[in-house]
């Protein structure tokens, strides 16, 4: 039986080696398989204070049903806008308390906000102090090809109605305090942006690149108007076509076709070896029996 088990071992190990060789090739082919971009479960939220006569506040972000805040912004004063915060998609509550108020105290204002993956939201305190409310404003994360997107938020109470022009073209006429325009597609360029109220106006030079999204906020400053140019989101001004050609193949495997003769040789060798071994075993058996009588 010994020669038989020896032969089994040889055949098994040769078979394993062959499988391993094929496995190596299969693994390399697998690398090429397309991988779907995992759907990103992240949404974005930012918090803002656009109520001119409301003192600074503390703003809390809670994941719905969780009493401990996920994010706290302290001493947020009029005109302040936080950067966008990436958060898991889901239901949230935004609460506003007087600056320095105890975290457990009853909030002055609160609102629910539903955050979808791949979307962005601005939650802003708007209106006069006497009638302040928390508004959830949807943001945009795509632009038409070759265009910039612009939106105006009117947060001036001194000039409660403004008209805004971009490069001399009217973007919005008579926009009332505590209101916002939808996003408007604009040709890219460096533009003179002008906001005109009943008694005051303000002009700013603002670069609007293709593939970028801006919110321009009209704000009160003591005795005058001001403009804040928020860069909401930015991508490439022109998306290059397809994927780049960034390799010359010096480290690439040689073409798959050359594997065939080697695989054939391995299989043929396996066949020859197995048949030779089997024949050897067959002829040994009688010899073994012949020795037994000793």
């Amino acid at each position: 039986m010994k020669p038989a088990s020896w032969a089994v071992r040889v055949v098994t190990s040769v078979a394993l080696a062959t499988l391993a060789a094929f496995g190596l090739t299969a693994a390399q082919v697998a690398v090429e398989a397309p991988v779907a971009l995992a759907s990103n479960p992240v949404g974005y939220i930012r918090l803002a204070h656009f109520s001119p006569n409301t003192p600074a506040v503390d703003v809390y972000l809670y994941s719905f049903g969780n009493p401990s805040a996920q994010l706290v912004l302290h001493h947020v004063s009029y005109g302040t806008v936080s950067p966008f915060e990436p958060v898991s998609a889901g239901e949230y509550t935004v609460a506003m308390r007087d600056a320095g108020a105890a975290p457990g105290s009853k909030p002055v204002l609160s609102t629910a906000v539903s955050i979808a993956a791949g979307h962005a939201y601005t939650v802003a305190g708007v209106g006069p102090a006497a009638g302040i409310r928390l508004e959830v404003i949807s943001d945009e994360l795509t632009t038409p090809p070759g265009k910039a997107l612009v939106r105006i938020i009117q947060a001036s109470m001194q000039q409660d109605v403004v008209t805004v022009t971009v490069g001399g073209h009217e973007l919005v006429t008579n926009l009332k305090f505590a209101n916002a325009t939808p996003f408007i597609a604009v040709a890219p360029g460096t533009w003179s942006v002008k906001a005109t109220g009943s008694t005051e106006s303000v002009t700013a030079t603002i670069a609007l690149a293709a593939g970028t999204i801006h919110t321009i906020v009209v704000l009160d400053e003591p005795g005058k108007l001001a403009l804040d140019n928020l860069l909401d989101a930015a991508g490439s001004n022109v998306a290059p076509a397809g994927g780049p050609q960034a390799g010359f193949g010096g480290t690439a495997p040689r073409p798959g076709a050359t594997l065939v003769p080697w695989a054939a040789a391995t299989i043929a060798g396996l066949a020859i070896s197995v048949s030779g071994t089997v024949m050897l075993m067959r002829r040994r058996r009688p010899a073994l029996h012949a020795h037994r009588p000793h």
Binding site: T212, D228, P255, S273
Partner: protein, 225 residues
């Protein structure tokens, strides 16, 4: 017991004689093994990518640059410094960054020198709001390029962008994907994002010798740390 041992010894002495008695079978068994050896060696060398079969370990291969780290960009738009260098300790990358535009056919230009990476001037500057794009070669015609090991990056690895002035822009890898060029995710790579992010791009997958190009791209997604 002694008798048994003697008989066994006799058996061992006899076996070489029997092998010689059946030379063709023995020859077939040995020759078959040789043919298998040649076949497996051929398969291995033909299938050999020249790339490390397993990652070369996770120990840093380039020192992390020293200096202050940039914080998240303010909501208000402002000028961001120019990117001038790239360091990825986990995969031993340390390179200057050149400026890349687009080719006549509209695809992303790649550096003429395979040993350096470049920043796409049509994308936002690294560290500012938006998705900055940096590309480099996986290889030359004869050996590895600057982004040879890009696909070995894993979520959590740090990527340092040195800039003309101001603090380092330090990014954390969130995902590494391989895409067929026919299904390149243009919006996910070049589209607007509301925070400071980075995309690193090179080639990968199967090389097509007929066209001289790889069939896929490796894309690393990262966010400002």
């Amino acid at each position: 017991m002694r008798i048994d041992r003697t008989s066994k010894r006799g058996h061992q002495h006899a076996s070489p004689v029997r092998v010689i008695r059946r030379p063709r079978s023995a020859f077939a068994a040995v020759a078959g093994l040789l043919v298998i050896g040649v076949g497996v060696a051929g398969l291995y060398s033909a299938g050999n990518t020249g790339r490390p079969a397993t990652p070369l370990g996770r120990a840093p291969l380039a020192a992390s640059p020293r200096g202050h780290w940039a914080v998240a960009p303010q909501a208000t738009a402002r000028v961001v410094p120019r990117p001038i260098g790239l360091v990825i300790p986990a995969i031993g990358v340390r390179t200057k960054l050149i400026r890349l535009g687009r080719t006549a056919s509209g695809s992303l230009q790649v550096p003429a020198n395979v040993a350096v990476a470049g920043w796409y001037i049509g994308s936002p500057r690294p560290g500012g709001t938006g998705s900055a794009v940096i590309a480099g070669h996986i290889d030359s015609v004869s050996g590895p390029g600057v982004f040879f090991r890009l696909r070995e990056l894993r979520p959590g690895d740090l990527v340092y962008v040195e800039r003309s002035h101001g603090p380092l822009a330090v990014f954390r890898v969130t995902a590494v994907h391989t895409f067929r060029k026919s299904k390149f995710p243009t919006a996910a790579v070049y589209g607007p994002v509301p925070s400071a992010q980075l995309r690193l791009i090179t080639c990968g997958g199967t090389f097509d010798p007929a066209t001289g190009h790889y069939l896929s791209n490796v894309v690393v997604f990262a966010v400002l740390q």
